[in-house]
Homo-oligomer: 341 residues x 3
């Protein structure tokens, strides 16, 4: 089970209840009234635990698992060990998410403002907020109801934070308007100056950065990620975007709803994404580009041209993914020819 120092568990839940919550179907032989008390990985799960199989790499672990129940795709049902109760669905990861959320709903500390927090008298704090020791909320900031501001986080003057949002320890937010139910992880940096200047050998001349960071609802911004405010227009992060740790988003970037950006990727200034773009780890996207809806970019790629909706690209400079794979093969042939000489 999850370490009780860090997590509170709910439940138990019956298989019938889990099927209802997850939309999965109970396979033959799974008794709806049977109760499971926890979730666990395939390798460590026991008879009272629910597990899941989402990646075919782990089919052997599934076949050998002692889990009492398991969420699984129809394709793998036949590999289940005897006696395991199966919750069958075409979206096992999604169904597992719903089950695990039932056992472990988000932990929010009790509301209250720590006497060791520093909240400006001109800040507005909604009801039911938890503001931890060392957090600083500056003048004219507006914190919606039910927010959790972690220790030593800084909400600078004028910032607006929507209801039920979480700001992790040591994060800082300047010049930003943030939506509801956002999760800003520890050390994330929002709203500082963009990297805008007129370069010159004797004096780089700074361009005042006059825009904001506008973050939609249900957005996740990873630990130590950085999002600069706009230079004149705003930097915009659409609803439901998922931004991983150590990502850099430059000034004037716009991300449509539901984009996913993996760790250590960087998006240069003024580039605009439509919705549901997936960016792999350590990818770089050059400035002033348009990236279409549903585009996917392989890890470590460098995107230097616009990409049409729905296209998957890879490589540096990035190409349509099949072309990139062909190049990789062609390059490997170069040396094989060389060996024969």
């Amino acid at each position: 089970m999850a370490d009780p120092r860090f997590h509170d568990r709910k439940g138990p839940f019956s298989l019938g209840e889990l099927a209802e919550r997850t939309g999965a179907e109970l396979a033959e032989g799974a008794e709806p009234a049977r109760s499971l008390v926890d979730v666990a990985p395939l390798e460590t799960a026991g008879a009272d635990d629910l597990s899941f199989l989402d990646n075919k790499r782990y089919v052997e672990a599934f076949a050998a698992s002692k889990a009492g129940g398991c969420v699984v795709h129809p394709d793998f049902v036949a590999r289940a060990p005897e006696g395991m109760a199966l919750l069958v669905t075409k979206e096992p990861y999604r169904a597992y998410a719903l089950a695990a959320q039932a056992y472990y709903p988000p932990m929010i500390p009790p509301s209250g403002i720590s006497p060791d927090a520093s909240v400006d008298e001109d800040a507005r704090i909604g009801g039911g907020c938890c503001i931890e020791a060392g957090a600083v909320v500056q003048a004219n900031a507006e914190i919606g109801a039910g927010c959790w501001i972690g220790s030593n986080a800084v909400i600078a003057r004028g910032v607006v934070l929507g209801a039920q949002s979480i700001v992790g320890a040591n994060a800082s937010i300047y010049n930003s308007l943030i939506g509801e139910r956002c999760r800003i992880y520890p050390g994330a940096r929002l709203g500082q100056d963009g990297f805008g200047f007129a370069p010159d050998p004797t004096e780089h001349l700074k361009i005042p950065q006059l825009g904001r960071v506008i973050v939609g609802d249900d957005v996740e911004i990873g630990a130590n990620a950085t999002i600069d405010r706009g230079a004149g227009p705003d930097t915009i992060i659409g609803d439901r975007c998922m931004i991983d740790n150590l990502v850099q988003i430059a000034h004037n970037v716009e991300l449509g709803p539901g984009c996913v950006i993996a760790a250590l990727a960087g998006i240069a200034g003024s580039t605009k994404f439509q919705n549901y773009v997936f960016i792999g780890g350590q990818v770089g996207v050059a400035g002033h580009l348009r990236i279409g809806a549903g585009v996917r970019v392989a890890a470590q790629s460098g995107v230097i041209r616009n990409v049409e909706p729905g296209v998957t690209v890879g490589g540096s400079p990035a190409l349509p993914i099949r072309e990139w794979h062909r190049q990789t093969v062609a390059i490997s042939r170069l040396t094989k020819t060389g060996d024969k000489k």
Copy 2:
């Protein structure tokens, strides 16, 4: 206009005054006494706003703009919409910077030490400083006049910070001597131990890191960037360097004046740059190299050899840029030949 929650605007300024401040020439038909009240992007500017055109990608937006005035290169004057007052200059971005600085000079909060800051009695604080809530200034630190230390920033023992420098929220500075008018952004880390050790399978043996970080005047260090102190020599950042977010500068690195390093780049230990080197995003530069004045490195490149002054390089491993481009073309031909087979 810029959101008044975050920015205070000065002005209005007449076209004549703007021409004088920026060094641009008023084009025919621009009335020197006409007054402009704000700056704005081409797309959103109105009759009372000054805008600018610096990138030919945006010529159409320029031609369609409703901006009352615009800073523009002589080459694009003919594309201006009727009635737009033009400030003509061969350096439009630089001229716009000066104009925007007039409308929006840097905002510095009123001086004073917050009762919620922690300033050691043996620290020396110059006149007119603003030290915000949660900031910590340790023993024997010296803060010059007019500095702004943001909330929850940490200035560790013995650190020297020159006059009018700004340290953003949650930044930390150890073992460093910093010049005047520097801007250290939120979460930047200066002066921690370099990554120096004698590797060994049974015990990596740490090398005491005995140098400092020496930062010149007018330097900008981005959010969550990291600059380790020297191992024996110092790590040196020259005057006017511009370092973007999430950049890593290892121990003993020396940057000459005016270098520009884009986000997520890393410079390995003991490498020395002459002045005005430009490093693209996600570039890696290996250790113990010499990089000449005016060198430019394309984004995502990996530099593993010394580079002579004035040379532009790209690729990983990095080559002179034209050679790299030829390689990219040659590789793309490999698969085109393959297709014909």
Copy 3:
């Protein structure tokens, strides 16, 4: 000498004592009773200083050095300037580490809890700890004896920190069990949620992240590095691992003992390293891989397949290093042929 604002020096030490501490042999002519007062780089060392030569790039500096003593490999003894006392060893960097540690043992501030720290009454704090101003220790955290918690660091509820560990300024630790003698550098982020969700165009569904971060003894975690907690299993960092600045370690990753990971590298979820793996700067390692003992990965490489123990790889996608070098040569020949046409 090291700046006395930042370092306290011990000594002097005689050559005989230094030989004993380092395991090096005194070369002919080196007088065991001769005393050296400090360590210094070859270029700046004087007659009372000990220096070292570890990299053949610096043989000229060695030959011209005025250092009174020098730790050196037998191969370079003949290049020593006259009168320099030599400490000869096949592991000069290691021997220098031991000598420098004698002159400059780690500085730990005096113990005590700052009145400006915030320590929950339900936290347990071992003897002899230094907890600086602004540090926050939450409920049920356990801090071992002799720890140093830097200013504005956050030790969240339930976290365990072993004896004599150091947590730098503004670092944050959640959901983690940390060993003894660890060094967590400023701004490092441990134990926040992993990047786990079931992607969906209308709603990414978050997977509760129920594991912890388990860190062994003598581990170093660099400034602004990020280590996410496990999704169900734990994220595990073995004893003696050295992790540089701005490294990303995703959920469920396991690193065996003694691994070294250079700056800006990222390790994706559920990948497992055996012991003593070396990862270069800006490397990406894909998820769900097994990387064998002693593997080395060249900087900027992208590892997308399992790697057998002892193999060195490079390139993106990564190949055995000799094959990668052959490809680099073959590609460069493509354009040389092109030039001749």
